[in-house]
Amino acid sequence: MYKYVFKRIYQLIIVFFLFLVTSYVLFDSIPGNAFQNLLLNPELPPEAYEQVIKLYGLDKPLTERVFLYIGNFFQGDFGYSYKHYPRTPIDLIAERLPRTLMLFAMVNIVAFYTGFLIGKILAWRRGSKSETWITVTSVFSYTIFYPWFALMMLWFFGYKLDWLPIGKFLYPEKWYDAPYDSDVIFVSMIKFTAVVSILQILVYIFTRNIESLNLRRNARFAGFMVLTIASLFYWNSGDLLIQKPYAMDIAYHMILPIFTVTVVAFAGTALLTRTTMMEVMKDDFILTARAKGLSQRRIRDRHAARNALLPVVTSFIFTIVTIIDGSVLTETIFSWPGMGQLILQAVLEEDIPVAMASFSFIGIFALIAHFIADISYAYLDPRIRIQSQG
């Protein structure tokens, strides 16, 4: 097992090094550079361009710049943003990350949970009319052209019905006299969401061995109610009381993007769950459960769904990366200034330090996610352990 882990770590280091070199070379090979606007302004003398190219070392050969960058990277020096000098990429990422974390953590949880529930029901109702139309709807939403769909949602809910805001993450007029900036509120919201999620999971874990289905559900519902009431107390105390209206404003602006992404994203999980669960339901232990006289719901939820969860959770682990990098399309269409927009802007403006730092951050996160998945598989599947030992 240890040998397998070390081997994977060794591979990850090589992959990350190649990732850094390849990313830098690719960014550099984009035609033009971040200071092209100086080159195209006839009001400016040519020295303006030459001076800035020298200042940022862009007059040096590519190989020299690549190795200089990688050397500095491993010393924690990410350089200065070309476009936001003298801010560093880490400054910019720190500013944008909470906004993306908040939105996409919620999006992923809601989309995954909805997808899993619907997938479970689909597999169980195989052959029914409801399975047909839910599957058709899922495939439709899975394959819909997302930018068009998102704009339609904006138009319908924001403009036509005027129920929800047209993009942005706040109403400016509500924030004119805000004693906090939005990042403070986002951080509070993230902390709150994380704590509530952990508590909700704990409730789930502690109640999972309650044999009676009704009692277990009631206990979970009670736990949910307690958490809700505790949350109300929490948001009505101390500093958070002042933050509450601003947090509510942000939460209100999150509804449409979360709903829109969920409609598109849940289908992937639903279809995967359906397929996996249908396979599981062919297994002998399901037949055994039925023979024991267990209720249909119990067989579905406690026997079939649990065993079908493994590949679904694996896919969820990989989608967690999107919590960090956000989504360029979602953030652009809903004017949500997070990591996705930062990356897009950095790439379009060829702000290589910011683009590299953002991609490296995502790369590290993705590699760690894969590493955890690999180790989990090795742990769960003895064949992988044995193969690596062999």
Partner: protein, 674 residues
């Protein structure tokens, strides 16, 4: 979560009346009571506690307890599409000079001269008068001594004096600042090769209210009146201790930097919105500006707070209209929308009054918005042009007859009117037709071919080539206006040169600019009808820039199409065509055009001291360019803008460049209706 709740609800309904149900019901009632009480308490506590908050972050300018300033109220809301990169004018004026940063930037600087809007007349700003003549110091240097008006202060109360200009120049030079500073204060007096260059030698405060600007040559209008005299000056009192090094200077959060304007920064919420608020103590408000048909401007400033001033500039004859300067709004809000469609939806919804968009609204959206109640449409000509360039370093672009033949055969009117449905305005020279005093009469081949039909243009183009000594195995023929010409075969230059095969016209792709892309396809076809193997190559904008602006590639292309945005003073022909600016040496003369006659006129133009003299010389330059045609200037799309006429009104909407380009949405003069 909603599915979870529905499930629970269904389940609970099955055992209504049980002990568990009663317990949960009790919980729910308790929860509702808590929520109800909690809500009331929250509101009361917010009202009481908010003023006590001391942990306001640095970006928060206004504490909740501040008393609302007296002055105008109302909010003017504008949409922007990109996050400003800085709130520090030093950083903005250097490399972070994107338009969005500029729109939101507060008035942290002042200048000696400025331009009146909407007629772009040169007027004084902080100068007491327009000083047009320099003093010859006898040592090769020339000095402009400009009086600074007294009694004016920055928003922090420190006086505006000549020392602010001296401090600004010393800082720019001392810290080797770049970008636009190199244009406003060209302090480099020596090139990399050690050769002497035209530069500003010094800016000193001769006394508290006299700025002396010394050049190592005698500059003309473009360098002095439209250059250094309009350069920014910062408050010495505020910035002196900060400007120790470039990094510290640019990193400084300038939210509290003093301004010479009626608005100060209020709330800057990165990624969301930015606001200015009216400064109740400002002296920078009011005044009447009168614009004359003759092109001149008269100014009458007397608001009772600042020293009164009045003056007339330019030709103040003919009819006139006047407008009062504000501000007439208490808050200016810039809201960020990353997506243009979302921004215009918000505009239709009345969430913003105006969308700052340097490219204007797309034509189809413009037409669609015309039907929305309360929306007013504005259409203006921009400053700039779209053009087709020859590489005059390479055959056949090096041949004047070839360039003239191309200019003649390309039927710009047909493309504009029949293909592009008249959505753009034809341009002939590098000067916008809207600058009526400057635009020269059309001469040369373009004038000769202007009224010819398609066949006539082709025949004229062929005759131009034949007259210049070009030969062909077969000169071909043109069957009629509705069809293509049968092109000449075996065409050769006057000295027997064979034109290269597969020459490319680099042009922006349809995604970037469908207009230029369409034009390039037609131009390639027209040139093929003259017997040349030319193909349009739509490609990325940056690819074209790399090819045509890189010194190393200056001989690796034949034709390209791009556009220029230019300043209000029409001196760009010098940058584009003077031989000293050849792009092989890093300049803007991408065609490599080299004509000593043009260079001489351009040099005289740069030294011109008066507008009349400059116009005369500019016309001469244009006449030479009409003969030589290194560029075939094509068209310019009008700037289309929209605003909410039901909520705001402007004193003028006809302005070259549009409301975005000319006055950044005009927050200083706009009035709100509600």
């Amino acid at each position: 979560m909603w599915i979870f709740c529905i499930q629970k609800g269904e389940k609970l309904s099955n055992f209504r009346g049980s002990k568990t149900w009663r317990l949960i019901l009790l919980f729910s009632v308790f929860a509702m009571v808590v929520v109800a009480c909690g809500g009331d308490t929250a509101e009361e506590e917010v009202a009481e506690e908010a003023p006590e908050t001391t942990a306001a972050p640095a970006t928060t300018a206004a504490a909740a307890e501040e008393v609302a300033p007296s002055g105008p109220d109302g909010v003017y809301k504008m949409a922007i599409f990109s996050d400003p990169q800085s709130n520090n004018y030093w950083a903005y004026y250097d490399t972070e000079s994107d338009v969005w940063t500029g729109y939101v930037m507060s008035g942290q600087v002042t200048s000696l001269y400025t331009l009146s809007i909407p007629n772009y007349q040169l007027v004084v700003n902080m100068a007491g008068e327009l000083v047009e003549t320099s003093v010859d110091n006898g040592d090769g240097t020339f000095t402009y001594n400009v009086p600074v008006r007294q009694g004016y202060t920055w928003s922090d109360g420190s006086p505006i004096t000549a020392h602010d200009w001296q401090f600004t120049f010393d800082t720019v030079k001392g810290l080797s600042l770049g970008g636009n500073f190199l244009s406003a204060y060209p302090y480099l007096c020596e090139g990399d090769d050690g050769a002497s260059k035209n530069c500003v030698v010094s800016i000193v405060a001769s006394d508290d209210y006299t700025v002396s600007v010394t050049f190592n040559y005698d500059p003309g209008l473009s360098t002095w009146q439209y250059g250094t005299a309009q350069g920014p000056a910062f408050s010495k009192a505020y910035w002196e201790s900060i400007a120790t090094d470039k990094e510290s200077l640019y990193a400084h959060d300038a939210i509290n930097a003093p301004v010479a304007s009626a608005f100060v920064y209020d709330k800057l919420e990165q990624g969301a919105f930015y606001t200015w608020k009216y400064d109740a103590d400002t002296m920078w408000s009011g005044g009447t500006t009168t614009i004359y048909d003759g092109g001149g401007t008269s100014i009458d400033w007397d608001n009772g707070k600042a020293p009164a001033f009045s003056g007339e500039f330019g030709n103040t004859s003919g009819d006139s209209f006047s407008y009062d300067s504000g501000p007439f709004v208490g808050t200016v809000e810039y809201t960020l929308y990353s997506d243009q469609d979302a921004a215009y939806l918000a505009f239709q919804n009345g969430e913003v009054d105006f969308v700052l968009n340097p490219l204007g609204v797309k034509r189809n959206l413009f037409n669609q918005l015309a039907t929305v109640p309360g929306v007013e449409l504005v259409q203006n000509m921009p400053l700039g042009m779209r053009y087709f360039a020859h590489n005059t370093r390479l055959f056949p672009g090096s041949d004047k007859a070839f360039r003239n033949a191309v200019a003649c055969v390309v039927d710009r009117d047909f493309i504009i009117n029949s293909v592009l449905q008249g959505t753009v305005e034809r341009m002939d020279g590098t000067i916008s037709g809207a600058l009526t005093a400057w635009a020269p009469p059309l001469t040369g081949t373009l004038a000769d071919c202007q009224d010819l039909d398609t066949v006539g243009k082709w025949e004229k183009a062929i005759s131009i080539l034949q007259d210049a000594g070009w030969t062909a195995d077969d000169w071909g023929e043109h069957p009629g206006n509705d069809t293509r010409a049968i092109p000449p075969t075996g065409i050769k230059g006057p000295n027997g040169e064979v034109p290269p095969e597969d020459m490319l016209i680099y042009a922006p792709g349809p995604g970037y600019d469908p207009l230029r892309n369409t034009f390039s396809l037609f131009i390639a076809d027209y040139i093929r009808q003259l017997g040349f193997d030319v193909t349009a190559r739509p490609t990325g904008f940056s690819v074209i820039v790399d090819i045509v602006f890189g010194a190393e590639n200056c001989k690796n292309w034949n034709f390209y199409m791009l556009g220029w945005g230019v300043g209000i003073y029409p001196d760009s022909a010098v940058a584009f065509f003077h031989s000293r600016n050849d792009s092989c040496g890093g300049g803007f003369n991408t065609p490599g055009y080299n004509n000593p006659e043009f260079d001489a006129v351009a040099d005289a133009f740069e030294a011109a001291k008066t507008v009349d003299e400059a116009i005369k010389l500019s016309n001469q330059m244009e006449a030479i360019l009409f003969e030589d045609l290194p560029y075939l200037v094509l068209f310019n799309p009008p700037v289309l803008e929209v605003y909410r006429g039901d909520t705001v009104e402007y004193p003028f909407t006809d302005v070259l460049g549009g409301l975005t380009d000319a006055c950044e949405g005009c927050p200083g003069v706009v009035k709100t209706k509600n």
